[in-house]
Structures are given as structure tokens and as C-alpha cells.
Amino acid sequence: MLQYVVRRILLMIPTLFLISFVTFIVVQLPPGDYLNAYVAALTQEGGETVDREQIEMLRQRYGLDEPFMVQYWYWISNIIFEGDFGRSFQWNQPVSDLLWGRIGLTFAVSLASLLFVYVVAFPIGVYSAIRKYSLGDYVFTFFGFIGLAVPNFLLALVLMVVSLQVFGVTPGGLFSPEYASAPWSWAKFVDFLAHLWVPMIIIGTASTAALIRVMRANLLDELNKPYVETARAKGQSEAVLIMRYPVRIALNPFVSRLGWELPALVSGAAITSIVLNLPTAGPVLLTALQSQDMYLAGSFILILSTLTVIGTLVSDILLAWLDPRIRYS
């Protein structure tokens, strides 16, 4: 086990290097560079023409005229040796100032919706499997499929319109205006919790639906197996029996899911976050990619990849611990 963990951790290093490199290539793939996008944005704003000489000057200052490898080295070496992620052209700020607060909130939202998903999906999945083709199963399945089919951002928009029409308030954001820029305090935390449930539910619905189906299917497979019959024949009570054996095995996807839950929440929830005006990573990443703000986009992806790789490792270890059948090679 220990050897396995060490090997996996060592493997993470080249993986991350590869990710950082590919990220940097992909961010730079579109024609032009940040300044082209910047000039385009300025002219789009309305008739503004930009001085070419000045743009050339900026290009030199930002090092955008350097070869690709030089730019990459500059970026990655600063991260490794100085922990400096460079600066965001678009925001005119050091990347690290933008990064950590948003990553933190992204995590909070992700964890909250993950919890929501588990808490809702687990009992319903188990119920649907045990009471297969019952009225309850059909009702849950029906809503599950609707949840799966409706895009999250649309659900968010619909909820916002409904809340505007019915309650006369516009939801959105993670804080009330008076707390948005305030330092963290108990009051702010409570305010945060009061706002959290909306994105939590919206982002969670699709995963919930998916997980209910997975749980149901897995459990159905297990329920007919001989060991269940055996346990039942031995007089084990039904509730203990189901929870102790088949559910434990059917739980695997819950755990293996952990690893890729995070990137899915960041990329998949980007549009939802934009609609809900959440100060999380998704929207910033999207605009950074659009404007080719390469250090910001690259750093975001690098950090999230790191977290994903760690998440995968954790979920693999958990899975190995949960299911003795899994081998370490």
C-alpha cells in the first residue's frame, strides 16, 4: 500500500509537467496573443483606435514577442522557484491575488454540492433499487431524468426569473452586497451559507440524477447475487443485510467519482457560475481563455489539475481501502 502511494505520488510529477505544458500550448493556440484580443476588445467597445507603436511596446514589455519556449520557461520556473504565478494582463493584478480566493470559494461550492448530491442520491438510489418499479421509483426516475436533461444554466435562469416574478428578488452571487468585500466574519459566513444553497442545488441536480441511476443499477446487479440470498437465508434482517453487503459494493462509483468531481464542477459549472454571478473559478477561467490571458488561464488550469490529480489519488486510495478486490499494480 505504502509503495503504491509513493509510486503514485512520484508519477504525479511528470503528469503535472505534461499538463502545464499542454495547457500553455492550448491557451496560446488561437491566432494572435493577449494584445490582439485586448485591441479587439477596445475597438469593439466603440470606435477606439489603438496606437500600434504602443501595442508593440506593450508586447515587448509583456514578453509576448518571445518564442513560446522562453515564455513557458519564464512562467513555470517562476512558479517552481518563487511560487510566483506571474501576472494577469486582463486584470492588471498578480495571478495569485486572483487565484486563491476564488479557488477557495470554488471548493466550498463544489464540496457543498457534492455533499448535497451524496445526501440526496444515496438514499434515493438505494430506495429505487429495493423498491424497483414501485410508484416511488417511477417518481424519482422521472424527476431524475428531468434533472439530467435540463442544462444547469437554464435551470439557474428559470429559477432566477421565477424568484424575480414570485418573490421580487434577484438571487445570485454568494454574498449580500454589504458582505461582498468585507473580511471574513461569522456574520459573513452565515450570509454565505444563506446564499450557498441556490448554486448548491442547481449545480448538484445533474450529478444527483446521474448518481441515482448509477446507484440503482449497481445495487440491482448485486441484489440478485447468491451472497445476498445466503445472508437472507441465514435470517439476517433485511435492512442490515442490504446496508452491510450489496450497498457497500455498489458504493464504488460514489468514491471513484470524487476524483473527477472537481474538474467537472469547475468546467461544467462555469456557465452556471456566470449566470448566477458566483465569484468562483469558472467565469474567470473562461474570460481568461477568451482574452488569451495566458498566465492567468495557465495557472488556473495548473492548480485545478494538481487538485484533480490529488483528488484522483485520494479516491483511488479510498477505493482500494473500501474494496479489497482492487490490486495495487
Partner: protein, 633 residues
């Protein structure tokens, strides 16, 4: 030094100010400031106002203090932010947009040939932290604009001969000198610029900004790295960025207290040192604070407006499509529309590349061919389809709303939809032979197959190009769409690779002379002669333009020596006549009217405004004197 058109307006304002001063020997201030003064945390009002504050004539009525103006923005350099809380330049547009009047500066004079401009500041004018604003600030600011390490965009402050020289005469007076005549200098200072330095001189307080520059503070580099920046220049640039730097003193009516980037909102509160008063001597602004919600998605921004939570807004969501949506709730939330006079030379300008290198040049450079294609378009149908009637058919031209530059031929030639005439002109142009599919052929036997390059960011233009290509097919001309991302479109255009290029332009009113590219090649924001622009600017890859275009350029340079708008318009009209005769590009639709909207209780906002970006609405209408009428809530 002779007195030019500015003197007239200067003295008018000076008189109003003087009268205000006499009639109201005592100035009044907001109650919140009153308290601070009596508690001793703020100097008395008389010590905060300049000796000659700018007296603002109210649009409706003298207002009352208080309240929050709720609105929205979407990016760090959102023009709505500059236009509302930051339009305080040395000089500004007058409200009819026919002239430039003093604002921060008390007066300005230009010399005979428009090379030297002398600004006089207001006596006792102070930054929002109480430090005097003097000509030393202007000298410092110019130094910073010139500093290539910083690369601050500041187009107004240089012309063909290079950067301006700024020299302090005394504490309140400084001169701005250019190597070549620069007749539109004051207009350029009055415009806003989304690259932040529209205000130039007035956004770099020396006493604050100099600490970030190594010429003034040897520890500047250390300061930068302590703050997490790579270089002092990055640090400096972050510190003057208005929406991001709450510590930086300002001359504007509101001071940013919650900057852009930390949360999903930006907040700006009253500047106790603001230099404007109303006609009764009440210090402006009336409104306590301006609150911007920051949105990434315009649909969500629209929700805020629909909920009646936007007091006055005029960007992002005031689109043709949203108008009925807003009109639906207008009565319920007590909202009214503001008519914006649109500056739209064209919403779908189609440029024929006159310098294209290839067989298709034969078609592109033929005037009858272009006229034929123009007659082939049913513009009524196109404009109705794409703009739901909010735009009218027009060539690329100045709008009839702006008389001094309106040219009937330029606006309306070859405008009517006439397929027979179109075919006749295309035949006359020499493209009589057709292939099996009915498409016209070049003299070398190849099909006339043109590619029109359109940007992805404007669906309107894609729709127009799509419809146009169908009409052209009817007259036997094969035109294919190439829809590309904006920066790629610009790149190809600058490399002169396009055949047809579609762009949209304001430049339909007084701003035509400021952004003249649709009419003559003095910038790259056009598609008929990019190498001609290179020739004009003395750059690489230049081609000498034909005689009549050289004539236009000569006239344009002549216009630069005029300081009076009327004279400038006269010369520019001559340029426009040549543009009409050349007909290098055809237009499709022009927007006549745009709109913004406000709630009824937001007062002193004119219900008809100039809508052009260059005019920066509502800036010239003095947002500081807008007020919230509690009795109307």
C-alpha cells in the same frame, strides 16, 4: 496668442460661476459632510472648493442630497464606468456636441496654428485627499505618458510629430506643445477612452503616483515586489487603474472604495473635494454613492433591470432585442426610455479591397461592379429582418442628423433595390460571360468568387452578410462568407489578405472627423486600402494611393491645422465628397435611434442624449448633478 472659439464658452461659464459665487456667498454641502466638518475630520467647504467652482445648470431642477445610484458593469475597463463616475477631463463636450468647453481646467486657449494649447487650472482645486491639484501634476503626468516602460495608452497626447511637451508656466498654468498642428486635440481630450487615459492629465496625482516610480522613489522596485508584482511598471499601472485602485486620489465626483476584482461589485462614494456646484451653490454630487453590480452575463444584468433595481443604465443590455422586454415592465417599475441619437456610419459596412493582390482585383477595383452589387441588395428587407426596423438603409455616411457633414450623395447613391439596373451595371463592368451555374466570369475565364470576411462577435453583421450573399447570387456573383474571430479578422486585414471585409462603425455624427477611417485611409479600421494607410503613416508594406486619395490625405492634414470645428467640418466635407465619388465601400443599414433607460425618480437626466461612444454619454450631462427624488419612489 489669439482667442478662439473656446474663449467664448470659457467666459460664459466663468460668468455663470461668478454669478453663482456672488448670489451665494455661502456654499452648501451634503449633510454627511456637514457632520464631518463639525467633528473636525474634514476642512470647511470653502477650503475644499476651488475659488471658481464650475456651476452646473440643472437639466430639470436643483436636487437634494442622498441615495445610491444602482447600476452595473462587466469588465475592469468598462466604458460605462468611465462615462458615469469618471468623465472629468480637462475639457469636455458641450451638451449639443458642437463644441468643447472647459471642465477641470478653468480655461484653455489655442494658438493660431493649433500647436500650443495653454490650460489654466482653477485656483485652490484639490484632489480627493485635499492635496492641491497644480500644473506640476500635469507635467508629471506627461512624463509618465511618455515613459516607454509603462506604455500607458494615451492617444490624445501625441500626434504625427510625437508626444506633446508639457511645460508649467506657474502653479495654475501650463502649456501643451505639439511639433505639428493638432486641430482636434481638444476634441480628443474630451473623448473617453476605454484604455483608461481618456483624461490624461487628471488621473495621475503626482504626490501619490510618484512613490511607485523609481525616478522619484528609489524603493519603488521593492514596493512592487512586496505587493506581488514583477516590476515597478506593473505595480505603477495597477495603481493608476481607476476602477482598481481605491487609494488613488481623484478629481471625479465619486471615489472608488470597493475596487473591481475583489467581489462582484464596485462601489464609489462622494468626493468631498469635488469642484462642481449647482446654480444655488450646493456642492455636487447630489448622489451619495454609485453602486455597480459586476456581471459576466448580460441576461442576468437584464434581470436586475427588470426587477427595477437599476436607476439609470445605458450599456450592455440596451439592445434592440431587449427593448420589448423592458417596455413590458416599464409601467410597473416606473421606468422610462431615454432616446439616444445614434452615431452609426454603418452597422454593416462592406469594404472592397482596392489593393488586393490576385485575379479578383479586376472585380474589386471596378466601380460599376461595386455599384451593381449595391443595387442588387434589398436593404429595406435586410434592415427590417436584422434590426427589427431600428435601422434604415444607408451607405457608409454621416447621418442627416448632423447637418455640417451630411452629404446626400454619400448617403444615398446606388441605394435603391433594382435587379435590372444591377445586372446592367455588372454587364457594363465587363462581367458578361457566365458559367454553367449562372455565375459571372472574370476576363480570364475564372468565376468571380469573392470571400467576405465577417467577425464572429457581431451576429448582426453575420446576418447581413448572409442575406447580402443571397441577393448577389441572384445577379450572378458568387460571394462566400468567412466568419472568423475578431483578432484573426484584424490580423488578416492588416496583412491585406481580405477581398471583402465587413465592419461596423460609429463616425456618423461629429465623431466622423475623429475616427475618419471609413472615409479615407488614415487608420487601419477600414478595408479598402490598408497599404494606403501604411503609406500615410510611413510604415512598411506601403503602397502609394491613387491621386484622389492622396488629395483626401492632404485635406485631412490641412484639417489638422484648424482649431475651430466649423472650419474642420468644411474641410472634411470636401474629403467626404471624394469618398462619395470613389465609392470604395458600400453600406447596408444605419441605426437611427438607440436607447438607454432610467427609473422615474432619477432626475436631471436628459431624455434625449447623444449616444455615440466618443461623446461618452451621460458624461457631458454632468452625472454629478443627477439626483434621486425620494418623493417619486
Amino acid at each position: 496668442m489669439t482667442c478662439h472659439y473656446l474663449c467664448r464658452t470659457v467666459s460664459a461659464v466663468a460668468i455663470t460661476a461668478a454669478l453663482a459665487g456672488v448670489a451665494h456667498a455661502e456654499y452648501n454641502q451634503a449633510p454627511s459632510l456637514e457632520e464631518q466638518v463639525s467633528s473636525g475630520s474634514l476642512p470647511a467647504l470653502e477650503d475644499r472648493l476651488p475659488a471658481t467652482p464650475l456651476a452646473v445648470e440643472a437639466v430639470e431642477a436643483v436636487g437634494t442630497y442622498g441615495g445610491t445610484w444602482r447600476t452595473a458593469m462587466s469588465s475592469r475597463t468598462d466604458s460605462w464606468f468611465y462615462r458615469t463616475v469618471n468623465y472629468d477631463h480637462l475639457v469636455m463636450w458641450n451638451q449639443d456636441w458642437t463644441d468643447v468647453v472647459p471642465n477641470v481646467a478653468e480655461s484653455v486657449e489655442a494658438n493660431e496654428d493649433a500647436t500650443v494649447f495653454t490650460f489654466t487650472l482653477r485656483e485652490g482645486h484639490k484632489w480627493s485627499d485635499g492635496t492641491p491639484f497644480t500644473s506640476a501634476d500635469a507635467v508629471f503626468a506627461m512624463e509618465m505618458l511618455k515613459d516607454t516602460n509603462l506604455g500607458i495608452p494615451a492617444r490624445a497626447w501625441r500626434n504625427a510629430a510625437g508626444w506633446a511637451d508639457v511645460e508649467a508656466i506657474d502653479e495654475r498654468t501650463f502649456t501643451v506643445t505639439f511639433g505639428e498642428p493638432y486641430g482636434t486635440f481638444l476634441q480628443d481630450v474630451s473623448r473617453i477612452s476605454s484604455s483608461e487615459m481618456g483624461g490624461g492629465m487628471v488621473k495621475l496625482p503626482k504626490h501619490f503616483m510618484s512613490q511607485f516610480h523609481p525616478d522619484y522613489n528609489e524603493n519603488a522596485e521593492q514596493l512592487a515586489s512586496d505587493a506581488g508584482f514583477d516590476s515597478w511598471a506593473d505595480h505603477f499601472n495597477a495603481k493608476w487603474a481607476v476602477s482598481q485602485s481605491p487609494e488613488k486620489p481623484t478629481l471625479s465626483a465619486w471615489i472608488v472604495t470597493e475596487p473591481f476584482g475583489e467581489g462582484s461589485q464596485v462601489r464609489a462614494v462622494r468626493n468631498p473635494y469635488y469642484f462642481k456646484v449647482d446654480t444655488e451653490g450646493n456642492q455636487l454630487p447630489y448622489i451619495d454613492e454609485v453602486f455597480f453590480n459586476v456581471y459576466q452575463d448580460n441576461e442576468v444584468m437584464l434581470l436586475q433591470a427588470l426587477a427595477g433595481e437599476m436607476d439609470f443604465h445605458g450599456r450592455h443590455i440596451n439592445t434592440v432585442v431587449n427593448r420589448p422586454v423592458l417596455a413590458d415592465v416599464a409601467e410597473e417599475i416606473d421606468m422610462e426610455f431615454i432616446r439616444l441619437i445614434a452615431s452609426s456610419a454603418n452597422e454593416g459596412a462592406i469594404y472592397f479591397n482596392q489593393t488586393f493582390d490576385g485575379p479578383m482585383a479586376e472585380a474589386l477595383t471596378n466601380r460599376d461592379f461595386r455599384a451593381g452589387l449595391s443595387h442588387a441588395l434589398d436593404r429595406e428587407a435586410i434592415c427590417d429582418t436584422v434590426f427589427v426596423g431600428a435601422a434604415v438603409p444607408r451607405q457608409i455616411a454621416v447621418s442627416p442628423e448632423f447637418d455640417p457633414l451630411y452629404n446626400e450623395q454619400l448617403a444615398n447613391q446606388h441605394l435603391e433595390f433594382d435587379v435590372d439596373l444591377a445586372n446592367e451595371l455588372l454587364d457594363k463592368a465587363g462581367f458578361t460571360e457566365r458559367d454553367g451555374e449562372g455565375f459571372r466570369l472574370l476576363s480570364n475565364g475564372d468565376r468571380v468568387r469573392l470571400i467576405i470576411q465577417v467577425r464572429t462577435d457581431k451576429q448582426d453583421m453575420i446576418d447581413i452578410a448572409d442575406l447580402a450573399s443571397r441577393y448577389w447570387k441572384e445577379v450572378g456573383v458568387d460571394v462566400q462568407l468567412d466568419v472568423v474571430e475578431r483578432s484573426l479578422s484584424d490580423q488578416r486585414r492588416d496583412a491585406n489578405q481580405h477581398m471583402l471585409l465587413m465592419e461596423d462603425h460609429s463616425s456618423g455624427l461629429a465623431d466622423a472627423i475623429l475616427a475618419a477611417a471609413p472615409y479615407l485611409p488614415v487608420d487601419d479600421d477600414q478595408g479598402f486600402g490598408i497599404p494606403w494607410f501604411y503609406w500615410y503613416a510611413g510604415m512598411d508594406n506601403a503602397q502609394e494611393p491613387p491621386e484622389q486619395v492622396q488629395r483626401q490625405i492632404a485635406l485631412y492634414r490641412e484639417m489638422g491645422t484648424k482649431t475651430q470645428p466649423a472650419e474642420q467640418f468644411e474641410v472634411f466635407s470636401e474629403i467626404l465628397q471624394i469618398t462619395a465619388d470613389n465609392f470604395f465601400a458600400l453600406g447596408t443599414c444605419s441605426e437611427e435611434v438607440q436607447y438607454s433607460f432610467k427609473l422615474d425618480h432619477m432626475r436631471n437626466v436628459p431624455l434625449t442624449q447623444h449616444g455615440s461612444f466618443a461623446f461618452a454619454p451621460p458624461g457631458p450631462y454632468h452625472p454629478a448633478h443627477f439626483w434621486l427624488d425620494e418623493s417619486m419612489r
